[in-house]
């Protein structure tokens, strides 16, 4: 309820101040280190952003790997240039391609994005895009445009949403609050253009921005779901983005105007996300869009690294999908995984489970034993021992 009251104050400030301050000019680039007065519409947006940022700090999705967050912040600073000290970075373990910039400088970067960009140059483009929203005052511009269109109803919906949030969950609240910060197509196009320029000025290859959208487009096309393929957009709390094809075309034109070449920092990037690959892929599989997950894993496999982990999760995708022939595909992927030095111990147990289901008792027995040798203190040791006992007694499943 205290949160509701605080949001109501911010929303009321927004509602009451909008008319009075609508004519106040918005600079092309925001002045440095200025916090808007709380009685202005922009001040209201900041207050609401502060509230959301407090939620993020306590959120279960916040990734607490200081090294990873520090790295993402470092890249964000490179493209933010002299706005660096005004931006705060939060990495959230959410399995969708998304990042978001709040008007007060709070930047969210979702693990689904980190899992899908191939190198630091692609990350720099994405963060350059987000930084542009802050630097170019997109939030207040979008708010005033929306305000002119919609009246106070939007504010009321935020307050009502805040009331229901304790029942409906934090993400619903964040989603409603985020609707205050959604950008128009013009602002998204502006952020793409300046994001490329910022990445290029920071020394990165601007052409990598094109690759971000190409990968995204290919993954969406591989979705299991008609709705996802038709919408041509990822689940996002910001739903006003231009579609991927339109953005890709515009970026391709913009890249032609920029100097060619630049750094990629592929190895450095992969080293930074490597410790999280397993957890993030596990999260991705919980979305149950196996078409997209398998496309993503194949894309990561093409880079020729982390083959044990990636083949293991490819096997997991087939095992969980359960279409005809998937058990055999899972078996093949697990078998490739255990041939790699970075295969998780669970790969041997999963392979044995699949082999047991397929009636390959000897192979199953060998791999159950290998699993116990690799994970002698495993929580499920007694279950595996029971399976071994059954196999020895001639029972196959």
């Amino acid at each position: 309820m205290r949160r509701l009251a605080r949001v109501a104050v911010a929303a009321a400030a927004l509602a009451s101040s909008a008319t009075a301050y609508a004519a106040e000019p918005i600079p092309e680039f925001r002045p440095h280190n200025i916090r808007p007065d709380v009685h202005t519409d922009e001040g209201g947006l900041w207050a609401t952003s502060d509230e959301v940022e407090q939620q993020i700090k306590a959120s279960s999705e916040l990734d607490h790997d200081a090294q990873l967050t520090g790295y993402v912040r470092e890249v964000a600073c490179k493209v933010a240039f002299d706005y660096c000290n005004e931006i705060r970075v939060y990495v959230l373990d959410l399995p969708f391609f998304n990042a978001a910039m709040a008007p007060n400088g709070g930047m969210q970067v979702w693990s689904g994005l980190l899992l899908r960009v191939d190198n630091e140059a692609q990350l720099a483009f994405a963060l350059g895009h987000e930084t542009t929203h802050f630097v170019r005052n997109h939030s207040i511009l979008a708010w005033r445009k929306a305000k002119a269109r919609t009246s106070v109803a939007m504010v009321v919906s935020l307050v009502a949403g805040g009331a229901g949030a304790s029942i409906l969950g934090n993400l619903v609240y964040l989603g409603i609050a985020a609707s205050l910060f959604s950008f128009t197509r013009e602002e998204e196009a502006d952020a793409d253009r300046y994001g490329l320029q910022r990445a290029q000025e920071a020394g990165y290859d601007p052409a990598q921005g094109v690759n971000v959208f190409r990968s995204l487009q290919a993954e969406v096309a591989a979705s299991d779901f008609d709705k996802v393929r038709k919408e041509d957009a990822r689940t996002s709390i910001f739903d006003d983005h231009p579609n991927t094809a339109a953005r890709l075309a515009a970026i391709q034109e913009e890249v032609k105007t920029l100097p060619e070449g630049g750094k990629l920092e592929k190895e450095r990037y992969r080293a930074m996300i490597r410790p999280h690959l397993g957890d993030w892929l596990k999260d991705d599989l919980r979305r149950k869009d196996f078409g997209e997950s398998l496309h993503l894993i194949d894309h990561l496999l093409e880079q020729g690294e982390d083959l044990g982990v990636l083949q293991f999760y490819k096997g997991e995708a087939y095992r969980l999908r359960r279409k005809n022939g998937d058990l055999e595909l899972a078996q093949a992927a697990y078998a490739l995984a255990i041939a790699q030095p970075d295969a998780p111990a669970a790969a041997w147990r999963q392979l044995a489970d699949v082999e047991q289901s397929l009636g390959h008792a000897d192979k199953a027995k060998t791999n159950f034993e290998a699993y116990l040798a690799k994970a002698p203190d495993a929580d499920d040791r007694w279950l595996v021992e029971a399976s071994l006992k059954k196999l020895s007694a001639g029972e196959h499943s």
């Binding site: 509701l4 009251a5 109501a8 104050v9 929303a11 009321a12 509602a15 009451s16 939620q55 306590a58 959120s59 279960s60 999705e61 916040l62 373990d93 504010v155 009321v156 307050v159 009502a160 805040g162 009331a163 229901g164 029942i167 969950g169 934090n170 993400l171 779901f225 709705k227 996802v228 919980r286 149950k288 869009d289 359960r322 147990r349 489970d353 047991q356 289901s357 929580d379 499920d380 007694w382 279950l383 029971a386 499943s397």
Partner: protein
């Protein structure tokens, strides 16, 4: 300002009334999850089954202090293709029980269903043997977080019988509430029986 708060208060009241209307008492004594699956409650619980999103017909949800402070799911035998959490839409599927699942897949089904209920960072541990009326199953512990970052503890149980899956799952905040009612929950789990 005042009118905004008034609207918010009406919204909040409407939501809470809608929730209240569906709660019934589950008194101490036998509680029939289904015609052939029964547990014994050692005290009065509130039966909040009708408030579950999508009202999956084989899932019962009991609570003592409210669903945010403790909840006990009792799931009647799921047939292949059935679920604990109903999918909100076709493109957002939830975990489904299949025949031929391995023991670890049965635990994974409950763990993934817990995620689908809205909990984050769900992990299972301490897998151990269990049984209902002589049918072997698995007990396990659960750790999770609410989206707001509150630590949740839990314990669960799965038993497959005649091609159907029976699930018991208790979830509560780790601080105070989980331990406070764990002895009661252990008795409920131990009382589970097929008739």
């Amino acid at each position: 300002m005042r009118s905004l708060l008034k609207i918010a208060a009406v919204c909040a009241a409407t939501l809470s009334l809608a929730a209240c209307a569906t709660i019934t008492s589950a008194p101490a004594g036998d509680y029939k999850v289904a015609s052939d699956y029964t547990v014994t409650l050692g005290r009065q619980w509130s039966d909040m089954s009708a408030a579950i999103m999508g009202k999956p017909k084989k899932v019962r949800m009991l609570s003592i202090d409210g669903v945010f402070l403790n909840r006990l799911y009792l799931v009647d035998g799921l047939a292949p293709g059935e679920f604990i959490v109903k999918a909100a839409s076709k493109d957002k599927p939830t975990p489904v029980y299949h025949s031929g699942m391995s023991p670890t897949e049965l635990v994974e089904f409950v763990s993934d269903s817990t995620s689908a209920l809205g909990y984050d960072r769900v992990e299972t541990s301490h897998l151990r043997p269990a049984s209902i009326s002589g049918t072997d199953g698995i007990r396990f512990d659960v750790a999770a977080q609410t989206p707001e970052g509150l630590d949740i503890a839990g314990t669960g149980m799965v038993v497959e019988r005649a091609g159907k899956l029976y699930v018991n799952l208790y979830l509560a905040p780790k601080e105070h509430y989980y331990d406070a009612y764990l002895p009661e929950v252990e008795k409920v789990f131990a009382s589970a029986r097929f008739s």
